[in-house]
Each structure stands twice: as structure tokens, then as C-alpha cells.
């Protein structure tokens, strides 16, 4: 069973400036696919097509073997976790209430909701007794992002979309969260699409990497093999992520 599949998808306001142009990509169930590419390559648009924040102009996007246009958008979105760089925690709700939003929309009994919140806070490494009652603005950037991940996982959706999830964090925290994410993913085995402009992050987290440029997929393969690619657009991204050979001390990520 395929997780998410783009087949010949085009999106954009007609004519030359297509945001996605004949874009095809299959993401296997349980794998992490990292989408990398310069800004404007169409990475975020590809993600929004998965949870039907957008609908393709041509081609289709299939989630669990069903085209998004055939899904009830509400059902689809509740089966797809979504984490964005700005996180979008609800400022008028506590950490626990933020995580409990989708379970409550799904009308889970309150007992089940609170035990799930407890479990998820533990999973993302936040002590439930300390953090459940906190407000979003009482958290550090890293803690907020952990809550964002917990919220996205609340009803155990099979698919998870991450859009630059760690982009706003300092390098140390980012490294820490990347490790945590690997640990969580090794337990949960979600179908994950991770958008990043950071090739190093893509290589750490991705089972496979897709490189996008100008609305097209220009390279796709196992993370390890990307260093061997001769495509100039891929090489440029790889080299940008590598620390300069001599003055290596200055680079940190």
C-alpha cells in the first residue's frame, strides 16, 4: 500500500509560471521522504496538495490509494498530521488543550483525551506534570515545536507532513530535535514528507531525498546516494550544506 503518491501533478495559475509542473513522486508507507530545493521550488505547495489545502490543476495526489479530490477534506486532514515552521499553536489554549484539539473534534471521551495528551507529551520529551497546564508563550522555541509535533500526532494519523519544522530553532536545539524525531519515527513508522532547504537535515532524517527545482522533481533517491549524484543542481545543494574543507570550525550545522 502506497503512502502518498503524486502522479503528473501540475499546479499554478496557468501559463509559464507553474508552481508545480508535471510533478510525480511516490512516498512509501512508513518511510521519511525529505524534499529539498531552493525557495520557490514548490516544496510547500506539494505538501499542501497532500492534505488538500490545495487541489491540483492537473494530475492527482493519492493518499492511501485515494485521490485527494475524492476524500472528504475534513476526514483527510484529520488523517494527516501537519507541522509548520511557525507551528501555529493556539495562544488561548494550554499545551494540553492544544494537543487535545483534534481528539476533541473527533469526540473522544475526556478520559481518553487526557491519557493521550499525557502519552504524547512523554513521547516528545516534555514532562506532562510540568507542561500540560502551560500556555504557549511560556515555552521556548524548541518546546513549542515539540508540542506542535505532539499535536500533529494526536489521533495517530498515518501520514505526517513537516514543513521546515526545525527551521526557526538554534543549531543546538535543532540537532537535539532531529535526534528526537529519529527516535520517535523509529517507533511510530509514519509516512512522512519533510520539507527542508537544509541538505544536512535531509540527509540525517530522510530515508530518501527528493530534490526539487522550478516545480519539478530533478532527483530522487536514497539519502546515502545523493553524494554521488552528478546533477549540478543537486551538487550545489550538497556543497552548500557541507562545511568548507579548511575552516571547518566555523560551520556548525
Amino acid at each position: 500500500m502506497s503512502g502518498v503518491e503524486f502522479s503528473r501533478v501540475s499546479f499554478g495559475h496557468g501559463g509559464a509560471a507553474r508552481i508545480l509542473d508535471d510533478f510525480s513522486l511516490a512516498v512509501e508507507a512508513g518511510e521519511v521522504l525529505a524534499l529539498v530545493g531552493p525557495s520557490g521550488a514548490g516544496k510547500t505547495t506539494a505538501l499542501k496538495l497532500v492534505n488538500r489545502l490545495l487541489l491540483p490543476d492537473a494530475g492527482d495526489v493519492r493518499v492511501q490509494d485515494r485521490a485527494t479530490s475524492e476524500w472528504d477534506p475534513i476526514r483527510l486532514r484529520r488523517s494527516v498530521g501537519y507541522v509548520i515552521q511557525e507551528i501555529g499553536l493556539f495562544p488561548h489554549m494550554t499545551v494540553a488543550d492544544n494537543i487535545a484539539v483534534v481528539p476533541r473534534l473527533e469526540r473522544w471521551p475526556e478520559g481518553r483525551v487526557s491519557s493521550r495528551v499525557h502519552e504524547l507529551l512523554g513521547l516528545v520529551g516534555l514532562d506532562p506534570d510540568t507542561y500540560a497546564g502551560r500556555w504557549p508563550d511560556e515555552l521556548s522555541g524548541g518546546q513549542r515545536q515539540r508540542v506542535g509535533v505532539a499535536r500533529a500526532l494526536a489521533v495517530d494519523p498515518p501520514v505526517l507532513l513537516l514543513d521546515e519544522p526545525f527551521g526557526a530553532l538554534d543549531p543546538v536545539t535543532r540537532r537535539q530535535l532531529q535526534e528526537e524525531f529519529r527516535r520517535i519515527q523509529s517507533r511510530l513508522r509514519k509516512t512522512v514528507i519533510l520539507v527542508t532547504h537544509d541538505m544536512a537535515e535531509a540527509m540525517i532524517l530522510g530515508d530518501r531525498i527528493g530534490v526539487m527545482d522550478g516545480g519539478r522533481l530533478v532527483w530522487c533517491g536514497a539519502s546515502r546516494s545523493i553524494l554521488e549524484s552528478s546533477d549540478p543542481r543537486v551538487r550545489q545543494l550538497v556543497e552548500a550544506a557541507m562545511p568548507p574543507p579548511i575552516s571547518g570550525q566555523t560551520g556548525s550545522a
Partner: protein
């Protein structure tokens, strides 16, 4: 200060009713404005292109002075006319702007990523609105409601001009009596009410923006809602009036208030029918419109005013002819002129009693000989009216040392007594004539048209309650100019209550 407390103490029942009416106007209009404005704001915030025009229109509405707004709405069916309904319509219009705007701002100000996260989580439009947008916009919306309610407390004072009641009645009464105690008696409770409303809603706003559990939000909202309910129910009960009452109106100056009371009490005493008082309505045209629309059943008009101001006929001098033609004009629009009350409130050319005695002045012709050395002061209306200054000067060949000074009518009596001017045009029945030892010169050339005071009633009401006609016919010719002067003096100079003055007069009439 003690005068003010004495006034409140003496009028505590009336004060409570006016306070209740005021709260009723503000609470109901604000509730309607919220019920209309919040959905309107939500709707506009969904359509970015609509938001700007919406706010623009609401802004323009806000800049219309409220008195002008009442004027615009007078002829509009359903919401126009006089009384609480029209006042509510105006107050709702004023309340809409801050509420619509704050709803648009509150919802528009929500971070884009928050909305995107909510949609991506699979919230329906309704869930997004109820769980995210409204809670986050709530402090802004409550701030808008606060502005609307506080502005409403202020605008509601003006509603007294169209007979909607409220604390503005004291303000208008005080203005027409030039009595600051009465003005303050209405203005201070209105200001207090504004402060209480402001403080209460500010508390609610703070409470909502503070981070609380939804349960505690609900407690705060429930507390606010039940307070509002108590206020509305309480004031509805206080303002409740029997619907089949005879409604007596009056214009907004002392003599009219007293005459309104005389008419009302006469109907009460003679017929036992319930009477509702809508005294202190803005002016001639408002009373006329109210009588036409059935908002009031009867009020006292002056024949000359009816002829020129209501029916736009040229002024005429023959009292009987004027009364006959006014009776005819009224009859054509379903209204009945009842017999005149007996006095003529014409313009009175007044001089100081001392001057008149020293120079032997009795008539305007006598005065014309000395006016070239005199200064005159006239109210604005007298200078403008077709039957005012220009014609008078021509009829008597009047000349003055300098062009007449424009001054407030009420102030001109005191200016004359103080020697700042030497001749004024006042009302023949003004109480101050007696109080300030002024003398009315005889209009020996019969320049001024007659202004006989006469009750006008809706014909359909008289048909249904013939006893009202019989009751009012008993007043025919019973009130002399001297009576009226005395009663006006009691109100203006001795600050007696128009109701008490009317009561004492009717007792006196019964004995005479």
C-alpha cells in the same frame, strides 16, 4: 449641591423610571447591535473586498450628529417616528460601527499560521470560527461593544428629544428652564451610568483576554449575560406602559410641559382612562409628525404656529379667521382642533417697567418715538421669522441706535432687566415678565398674528373616546395669559414641578 440632592429626593420615583428607561435603551440597542454587528463583521472579514466599504459606511453613519439622525428617521416607516422604537433604531446604527469594526479587526488580526494550522487539522469552517477565531477575537469584540455601549449612554440622552424617555429628559427640561440643577440631575446619573458600563465591560474584556480555562470564561460570560438580562427585564418592567393609554405630547419648553400636564391630568380626572405622557418632544415639527403617525394622541399647539410652520400659509392677523382656517387644515389630515384654552402666546414687545412708567409708554407706537436712542436684543428665531422683526420694524417704523443684537431668547429677558438692551421680543406668557418687572407694550396696530393655545387631537381617538373630547372642552377659555404667566413663573423662577403646578391650577379652576 443640596439643591441637587433635594431634587433627586423629591423626584426619586421619576428618577428611577428615567434611569430604567435609559438602561433599557442602551441595553436593548447594544444587544441588537451585537446581534447584527458581530455576524456582519464576521461576514466582512471573510470577504476582504467588503471589509473596507463596510467600515467606510459605518464611519459615515457615525459622523452624522445624533439629533440630525433622529430628524432623518422621523418620516421612515416602522423604525421612524417618535418614541423608544425610533430611538433604538438610531442607537443601533451608532452601535454598529465600533462592533463591526472591532470584529473585523479582531478576526483579521489573528496570525495566519494559527488559522492555517486550524484548517490543516481538519476543522470545519464552523469549528474554526467557534473554537479559534471568536475566542481569539473576543477581547477586541468586547472592546468594540464597550465603545458602543458607552457612546450609547451618551446618545440615549438625546433620545429624550423624540420622546423615548431616559435621563435626557432632565437635561432637556433643565435647558429649557435654564436651571443647571435639573440639567445636572440628568447629566450626573448619565455620566455615572457611562462609567459603570465602561468599567464593567473593561473588566469583562480583561477577563477574557487573561488566560483562563474555558470554564472560567463561561462563568464571566454568564455573569455578564445575567446582569444584562436583569437590566433589560428590570427596565422593561419599569418602562412598561399600558398600550391602550391616551398619549399626551408636548414640545420642549416650560409652558408646554405645564400645558401637557394640564391636558393629561384633565383626561385622567374626568375620564379615568390611563394616560401616557410623552412630554418634552423636540419641537413643533416633531409633535406634528408624532400626532400624524399616531405616536401621540393630543398636544397643545398655537394657531399662528400651526398656520405658518405646519401648514406653510402666510401669516394672518384676524384671530378667528386663523383659528377657522387652521381647524379646517387639521380636519383634512384626520385631526381635530379642540376649543382654544383662552390665552394667546403671541410675541410680546417688552421694556423695563421702570422705563415705561417714567416715559409713559403703553403701546409700541409710544415706544417708536424713543427707540432711536435704544438698543434691542432679539432671539434668532424672531429675526428670521416672516412674522418677526423685519415686518415689525416696517409696521411701526421702528429704528434703533444700532442693529439689534442676536441673543438667546431666555437670556434676553435678563439682558433687558440688567440694562444691556432696552427692548426685546419675548413670549407673552413668559414667567420672567412678572419676575423681572418687565412690561409688555400693546400691539396697537395688530401686527402680530394670533398664537392662541389650543389642543389638537387625533380624530380617530376622539371618536373612540368621546369622553376625552368632553373633558378637554371643559378647559375651553379657562386659562388666561395671567394664569399662564404665573404658572411659567412658578416653574422657571421657583423651580416647581410642572405636574404639581398643573395639579394646583386644576384644583383652583374647580373652585373658581
Amino acid at each position: 449641591m443640596t439643591k441637587l440632592f433635594r431634587f433627586w429626593l423629591d423626584h426619586r420615583q421619576e428618577l428611577a423610571i428615567l434611569f430604567g428607561e435609559h438602561i433599557f435603551l442602551v441595553a436593548v440597542s447594544t444587544l441588537i447591535a451585537v446581534a447584527v454587528g458581530v455576524p456582519l463583521g464576521i461576514f466582512a472579514s471573510r470577504r476582504a473586498r467588503l471589509a473596507a466599504p463596510f467600515v467606510g459606511i459605518a464611519n459615515i453613519v457615525q459622523t452624522i450628529p445624533s439629533l440630525a439622525m433622529f430628524g432623518f428617521l422621523l418620516p421612515v416607516p416602522l423604525i421612524g417616528g417618535v418614541g423608544a422604537r425610533a430611538a433604538l433604531a438610531v442607537l443601533v446604527l451608532y452601535g454598529l460601527l465600533p462592533i463591526v469594526r472591532s470584529t473585523i479587526v479582531g478576526i483579521g488580526g489573528i496570525d495566519k499560521s494559527i488559522r492555517e494550522a486550524a484548517v490543516a487539522m481538519g476543522m470545519t469552517a464552523r469549528e474554526l470560527l467557534l473554537r479559534i477565531e471568536l475566542p481569539l477575537a473576543m477581547p477586541a469584540i468586547v472592546a468594540g461593544i464597550r465603545v458602543a455601549a458607552v457612546v450609547g449612554v451618551g446618545s440615549a440622552t438625546i433620545a429624550a428629544a423624540i420622546g423615548a424617555g431616559g435621563l435626557g429628559q432632565y437635561i432637556y427640561r433643565g435647558l429649557s428652564m435654564v436651571d443647571s440643577t435639573v440639567i445636572l440631575a440628568g447629566a450626573i446619573p448619565a455620566a455615572l451610568l457611562a462609567l459603570i458600563v465602561d468599567g464593567g465591560l473593561l473588566w469583562l474584556e480583561r477577563h477574557l483576554s487573561a488566560r483562563r480555562r474555558p470554564r472560567s470564561h463561561r462563568v464571566a460570560l454568564a455573569a455578564a449575560a445575567s446582569l444584562l438580562l436583569v437590566a433589560v427585564v428590570g427596565s422593561v418592567v419599569a418602562a412598561a406602559r399600558s398600550s391602550n393609554a391616551i398619549v399626551v405630547g408636548s414640545k420642549n419648553f416650560t409652558e408646554q410641559l405645564i400645558l401637557g400636564e394640564i391636558v393629561a391630568q384633565t383626561i385622567e380626572r374626568e375620564t379615568g382612562l390611563p394616560v401616557q405622557r410623552r412630554l418634552n418632544l423636540g419641537g413643533t415639527l416633531i409633535c406634528d409628525r408624532a400626532l400624524l403617525s399616531g405616536d401621540i394622541d393630543v398636544y397643545v399647539e398655537y394657531t399662528g404656529t400651526a398656520l405658518t410652520a405646519i401648514f406653510h400659509q402666510p401669516p394672518a392677523n384676524d384671530a378667528d379667521a386663523v383659528t377657522a382656517s387652521v381647524r379646517d387644515l387639521y380636519a383634512r389630515s384626520g385631526r381635530t382642533l379642540l376649543p382654544p384654552l383662552g390665552f394667546d402666546n403671541t410675541f410680546a414687545i417688552l421694556v423695563r417697567g421702570a422705563d415705561a412708567r417714567a416715559r409713559g409708554l403703553r403701546t409700541i407706537d409710544d415706544a417708536a418715538r424713543v427707540t432711536p436712542q435704544w438698543r434691542a436684543g432679539f432671539g434668532f428665531e424672531f429675526l428670521e421669522r416672516p412674522d418677526g422683526y423685519t415686518g415689525l420694524a416696517k409696521a411701526y417704523g421702528l429704528q434703533f441706535r444700532s442693529p439689534p443684537q442676536v441673543m438667546d431668547l431666555t437670556l434676553s429677558y435678563r439682558a433687558l432687566a440688567a440694562g444691556q438692551v432696552d427692548l426685546i421680543a419675548g413670549d407673552a406668557t413668559a414667567g420672567l415678565i412678572k419676575g423681572l418687572d418687565l412690561l409688555q407694550l400693546e400691539d396697537n396696530r395688530r401686527y402680530f398674528p394670533p398664537y392662541e393655545a389650543v389642543p389638537v387631537a387625533r380624530a380617530s381617538m376622539l371618536l373612540r373616546y368621546p369622553q376625552v373630547r368632553r373633558a378637554l372642552e371643559k378647559l375651553a377659555g379657562r386659562i388666561t395669559a395671567a394664569d399662564m404667566q404665573r404658572m411659567n413663573y412658578a416653574a422657571d423662577a421657583q423651580h416647581e414641578n410642572p405636574g404639581d403646578i398643573a395639579k394646583a391650577f386644576l384644583v383652583h379652576l374647580g373652585q373658581r
